[in-house]
């Protein structure tokens, strides 16, 4: 569709302000990127579209107006290019849109690993007061090591933020004196291990505060294994019959 002028349709709320039309539409938080792209649309509109230029300027200077709302109302008036720009505004406005997920899939492996590492480090910073500096530095080094591009299996998923959040909650609750080794499952769940000689406790941190664990205790050639799955808040209780101090205390 061309950008030829159309009559401005009547809206429920319209008023004249300094010779321009201003339309009151539903309130949303201001969004600077949308505003910037709106300015780009202004440049694209031909001079003959004066009523719409005025409408758009008003929209961009009034926080109670939204670009997506007016674009929906006046969609038939804009060219395909203008509609494309408007779609980009919507994509910028909606962080978890399918379009943004598609963009995520297009990221290079290096970018995905970098993003995953950055996300979990930011998450760690939120509970920094619960970790001493030495441990935090060690933890960050372990995370860097797990996401080492040179070692990365391309079929694996980077560490999931939800899994790491569960891990942090567990660490804050358990307060282990012994720091765990860290690993990663192929689907991006963090795995922590505590070893005492040949004995070992492995905890896999799932999303949504869920954990599953398995421990092996050796007596000569005999081995006993115990396993469980629980919420992170019940982890200490779940491990209590098996002496958690054996794994976590120095």
């Amino acid at each position: 569709m061309s950008d030829k002028p159309h009559p401005v349709p009547a809206l429920a709320k319209a008023l004249t302000s300094g010779g321009s039309l201003v339309f009151k539409l539903p309130e949303v938080p201001p969004y600077e990127k949308a505003r910037t792209i709106g300015e780009h649309i202004l440049l694209k509109l031909p001079a003959s579209s004066a009523p719409y230029r005025s409408l758009l300027k008003s929209a961009m200077t009034d926080d109670s107006l939204t670009i997506s709302a007016w674009s929906a109302s006046y969609s038939p008036m804009f060219s395909e290019e203008t509609k494309f720009i408007e779609r980009r505004i919507s994509e910028l406005r909606n962080p978890a849109s399918p379009a943004s997920l598609f963009a995520l899939a297009e990221k290079s492996l290096e970018e995905r690993l970098f993003d995953a590492t950055a996300s979990v480090k930011i998450l760690t910073a939120q509970i920094a007061m619960h970790l001493d500096r030495e441990w935090r530095n060690k933890l960050f080094a372990q995370l860097d090591s797990l996401h080492d591009l040179e070692e990365w299996d391309p079929d694996d998923e980077p560490l999931q933020t939800g899994s790491f959040a569960t891990f942090l909650k567990a660490i804050v609750q358990i307060k282990p004196q012994r720091r765990p080794g860290l690993g990663l499952s192929h689907n991006g769940y963090l795995v922590a291990s505590w070893m005492v000689g040949k004995d070992r406790l492995t905890i896999e941190f799932l999303k949504n505060d869920r954990v599953r664990w398995v421990m092996a205790r050796y007596t000569g050639d005999d081995v006993e294994r115990f396993a469980g799955q629980t919420s992170v808040s019940r982890l200490i209780d779940g491990l209590a019959p098996y002496g958690p101090g054996y794994w976590f205390s120095k």
Partner: protein, 147 residues
């Protein structure tokens, strides 16, 4: 030569590649074992991929070297990754004793990897069994950097 799909002999051995992220490290980053998750099936896998060591037909040390070279030709093998070695008999015993499962270890060569074999009928979510495979069955660890 063994036919595709045939069972490997109980006294033979298989080798599995384990990436760095699924190796247990101590506080000084020394590799001390395999995570259970190193033996978990991916959603698109029906069986666990391994290499048949005796396929290479030489002494044990040479078989291990040739198998590692074979892995390196087949897919990306990180410098810090490692390989687990288990006897077929030990794998079967571990699965039977831990989970009451009867698994098969069969020869399944591919064009790229003529030593490729599979452990069939492994469950997907049995963490106890995976831990037993990681700690007791695949008890020998060979670092890629040592070959």
């Amino acid at each position: 030569m063994m036919n595709k799909g045939a069972n490997l002999s109980d006294d033979h051995h298989v080798m599995r590649h384990v990436p760095w992220s699924r190796l247990i490290k101590d506080e000084a980053d020394n590799v001390v074992g395999f995570y259970s998750q190193a033996f978990a099936l991916r959603p698109n896998e029906e069986s666990l991929s391994v290499n048949w060591l005796e396929y290479f037909g030489s002494d044990r040390k040479t078989n291990i070297r040739d198998s590692v070279l074979d892995f390196r030709r087949t897919f990306k093998v990180g410098k810090k990754s490692a390989f687990g070695i288990a006897s077929v008999n030990k794998i079967k015993d571990t699965c039977s004793a831990t989970a009451g499962l009867k698994v098969r270890v069969v020869y399944e060569p591919s064009k790229k990897n003529p030593a490729h074999s599979s452990i069939r009928h492994l469950p997907r979510e049995d963490l106890t069994l995976l831990d037993a495979l990681a700690a007791d069955a695949f008890s020998e660890l060979v670092k890629n950097s040592d070959v």
